[in-house]
Symmetry: C2
Subunit: 188 residues, 2 copies
């Protein structure tokens, strides 16, 4: 498992603030699963919360509803192909970890695994809201632990640089944008 | 107002799929307002829906709740300074359009204005969900019309290129990432 540093709760929103595509991992009853999700966002600062859309057709959804837990993993460009592939297979049919040779590590609070090679990881506890889960496939979670690769996040800020690891933003098909150049417009 | 093309409902999610920062405009009772929102995402394909976090402290929130309408505007890097500024002023204190010299155009369905110089615009009708609005500041909307600048979106795909107009991804303070290089990993 790659090196990782713990991120304090008040800074965890920054891992997702720029809108990267995420990989969702889940675990229940001895089964783990992995899927990609283009639709996620932070929902609150501290305690940090997140929102993510999990379709009814997914195997992940049953694992999250049964365990009350999930992890949002933020992949780098090197994992873009995997991000597409795990979004198009179903954990009901195949063990996607074995089929794709995915290496995982353990989180500190939840049992869903952390995907090796990602840039950051948010361990989440489901905030049960059955009406919006059923009506909109919308799932809310409280971030109970957060981690980042110190090569790209210094504990408070992203340090992604040209030619280095970058997060990714899914469009459609096999098409993505890479997270681009950082810039600063000065203090608010 | 810049040139714009109508985007068919089934393609509207692509305007936000990559997680850009948005500017929220609203209008009610003769008053318009404008604020920025880092936390938004698509929620469904067709009819397209969106989710956005609108804090209780904002003047925008009252206008949206009263009118049942809002617009998500997707700014380019040229509007990054404005995006920070309208996120730090309150429409309760100042007419932010006049104070910032903001040029607007009219939408086709909702009365909230479209901000000149943006790359795309999603006219939305609020889907009332009082519990999550109150508890999480989370607002859902159905996209009732969508528009894009044909210089950067061809009706189905973003065509943003190096050196041209790019969407932006807010981090914190005055800090952003630009939407970076497009890449393709092949068919799913």
């Amino acid at each position: 498992m790659n090196r990782r540093i713990a991120i304090e709760p008040a800074k965890a929103y920054r891992l997702m603030n720029h809108g990267p595509t995420v990989i969702v991992t889940s675990h229940h009853g001895g089964r783990s699963n992995i899927m990609s999700a283009a639709w996620s966002m932070p929902l609150d600062f501290n305690p940090p919360k997140v929102a993510v859309v999990i379709d009814k057709s997914t195997y992940t959804r049953g694992l999250i509803e049964a365990s009350g837990e999930f992890v949002l993993n933020i992949p780098s460009r090197a994992l873009a192909r995997l991000t597409v592939d795990v979004g198009n297979e179903s954990g009901a049919d195949v063990d996607k970890f074995a089929a794709n040779g995915i290496v995982v590590g353990a989180g500190s609070v939840v049992r869903a695994p952390l995907v090796e090679g990602c840039l950051a990881w948010l361990e989440c506890r489901l905030i049960p809201e059955p009406h919006i889960q059923q009506t909109y496939d919308l799932f809310l979670g409280e971030v109970v632990a957060a981690w980042a690769d110190p090569a790209v996040f210094d504990g408070a800020h992203w340090t992604m640089e040209e030619g280095g690891k970058r997060s990714i933003h899914y469009v459609a098909g096999g098409h993505f944008f890479e997270t681009g150049d950082a810039f600063d417009v000065g203090a608010p």
